[in-house]
Amino acid sequence: MNNTDHTTATVEPAIRLESVTKQYVGAETVTALADVDLPVYGGEFLAIVGPSGSGKSTMLNLLGLLDGPTEGVVRLGGRDVTDLSETELTDARREYIGFVFQDFHLLPTLTAVENVTLPTAFTDGQYADRAVDLLGRVGLGDRLDHTPDELSGGQKQRVAIARALINRPEILLADEPTGNLDRETGVTILEEVRRICERGVAVVAVTHDELVTEYADRTVRLVDGRLGEGDDGFAT
């Protein structure tokens, strides 16, 4: 199963960077991404690898609508979202994107269920039942009312994954999702992510971890802000 076969046909990518350049202007201007083209399709698990400082986090921020490009266009399901206001971007993030971070970023004062529903806390909908559902799915059905300090690293990351899914996102972005986990725990997390991907979600993971690339459909390599060509970029 390889979605990339269909890309040139009619299917719209879930999210796409088009000729995107990102520069950080400071004492000296750093070009973190240079003229990058990257479509990510629903149901595809994309791994981004590359040395430190190569622009991986920058790329994830652009895909997550947390930051805008200096040049180029970001398309969310075909829609140009490059020039949306901060309010519109916030809504777009809540509606379409799920985030998983290396250090989990759970709120320590909240229980697992509350952490999972946090993205929807200020909206009208009722998500508590879905949160319970999701926690059950990631194997935490018996940890609903535990706070993060009562959970192991792997459990925390699973809570974070459940949180990323609360809004039924079309894109799941993961920054080193296994970075703080041992190999065995990493495997369970990646299997979870794999299942999410199979349900049609576009998954992008930034990683140093060989393990992640093993679960990915496609791996691209970033070097100095440019997408690498050649065999390295397309490990299976």
């Binding site: 916030t90 993030r93 809540r94 970023h105 709120l107 993205p119 929807t120 200020f122 009722q126």
Partner: protein
């Protein structure tokens, strides 16, 4: 799970955050509590002072005393002037024409200086000691307490004034009021014991405002081109005293506000610290789609809660302090439990919240406005 997980999300999250570092939150709220306490207690203290004072001053503001103008060297008021005073008093109080002179009173071998009044309606100006005074003087002498004890007088004793002897028919109650018509050294006789014109006319007005109006009216009627009568009226003095107390009260409250200001600074500091510590959490909230305004609301809710909790305890404590003031001092409940003091309680509470809110505004605005990319980068 219940459906209402996030019914009041800002408040719920704020409450959790405050409980997280309980000691720090309690100290910040304590600052507000102390500030509110100081303001409210000083406010109440000022009210009690003012009300007690105006109780003491009592009738001072209600009397208008009209006498012949000093520079005209007239001995007495003319009947026309008395009539004018009576007209001016209609509907605003009672006019009482008065004969008055200083004389030596004696009984047996004892002597005492006394203020001798001739008044047909003693009840209008004095209180009786054991029974009330008549509205129509039927003869004899009503004697003030100082004279009575100096001359060792009883009911039925004889007192001699200006070569005439009078039977003591009653005593006057000493007065706390500050007024030129003092009962202590007075001997009140009937008018018929005097001859000639009245020395004074006293108007006992229904209120200080009426007193002012009566005084103005008399002035207009009698002092047309030249001053024919002197008009002595104290309601303006009362105004001046009230102004002084208002000023004193404001000063006390301003003093108290300084302590609330300090509390505000401590909330500012707490909010700056706690938002800096939670930078990543706030960034996370923004990243997962919580709006800047919602984060702002959450952080302001934290400050407001601190202010509300502190303000509540400050107000309750100062209410208790006010009641203690009543319980352990001679101060009456009637000057403690008054609407204005209730106003201070509520006002102090609201002020505490406002100070906390204002102090929290800048840190909240700063933290909520930070871009999530920056905040998440740590």
């Amino acid at each position: 799970m219940s459906g209402g997980l996030w019914r009041l999300p800002a408040l719920a999250l704020a409450w959790r955050n405050l409980r997280r570092n309980r000691l720090r939150s309690v100290l910040a709220a304590l600052g507000i509590a102390i500030g509110v306490f100081v303001i409210v207690v000083l406010g109440i203290f000022g009210t009690v002072l003012q009300l007690s004072a105006s109780q003491e001053l009592g009738g001072i503001g209600n009397q208008v005393i009209v006498s012949p103008a000093e520079e005209r060297q007239a001995e007495a008021l003319t009947p026309r002037q008395i009539q004018s005073v009576e007209r001016a008093a209609v509907g605003r109080g009672t006019a009482v024409p008065v004969y008055a002179e200083n004389a030596l009173a004696s009984a047996g071998s004892q002597q005492s200086p006394a203020q001798i009044y001739g008044i047909d309606n003693p009840a209008a100006l004095f209180e009786g000691r054991d029974r009330s005074l008549p509205a129509q003087h039927r003869g004899g002498a009503f004697v003030g307490p100082s004279v009575a004890s100096a001359l060792d007088l009883q009911i039925g004793s004889t007192v001699e004034v200006g070569g005439q002897q009078y039977r003591v028919v009653g005593f006057l109650e000493p007065s706390q009021d500050i007024t030129p018509i003092q009962p202590n050294n007075a001997i009140v006789l009937a008018e018929r014991e005097f001859t000639g014109g009245y020395d004074q006319a006293v108007v006992v007005a229904d209120s200080p405002e009426d007193a002012t109006a009566v005084a103005d009216d008399i002035d207009r009627r009698l002092n047309v081109r030249t001053d024919r009568v002197d008009i002595f009226e104290l309601s303006e003095l009362l105004d001046t005293i009230a102004e002084f107390f208002t000023l004193l009260n404001r000063f006390l409250i301003a003093l108290g506000s300084v302590s609330l200001l300090v509390a505000g600074v401590s909330i500012l500091n707490l909010m700056l610290m706690s938002t800096a510590e939670r930078r990543g959490e706030i960034g996370l909230m923004r990243a997962v789609g919580i709006h800047r305004e919602s984060v702002l609301r959450l952080l302001l809710a934290e400050a407001t809660l601190l202010g509300a909790i502190g303000g509540f305890f400050g107000a309750v404590l100062s209410g208790l302090a006010a009641l203690a003031l009543w319980a352990v001092t001679p101060i009456g409940l009637d000057v403690v439990v008054v609407p204005r003091n209730g106003g201070y309680l509520v006002g102090g509470f609201v002020f505490g919240i406002a100070v906390a809110l204002i102090s929290g505004a800048y840190p909240a605005w700063k933290a909520a406005g930070e871009r999530p990319v920056e905040a998440l980068r740590g």
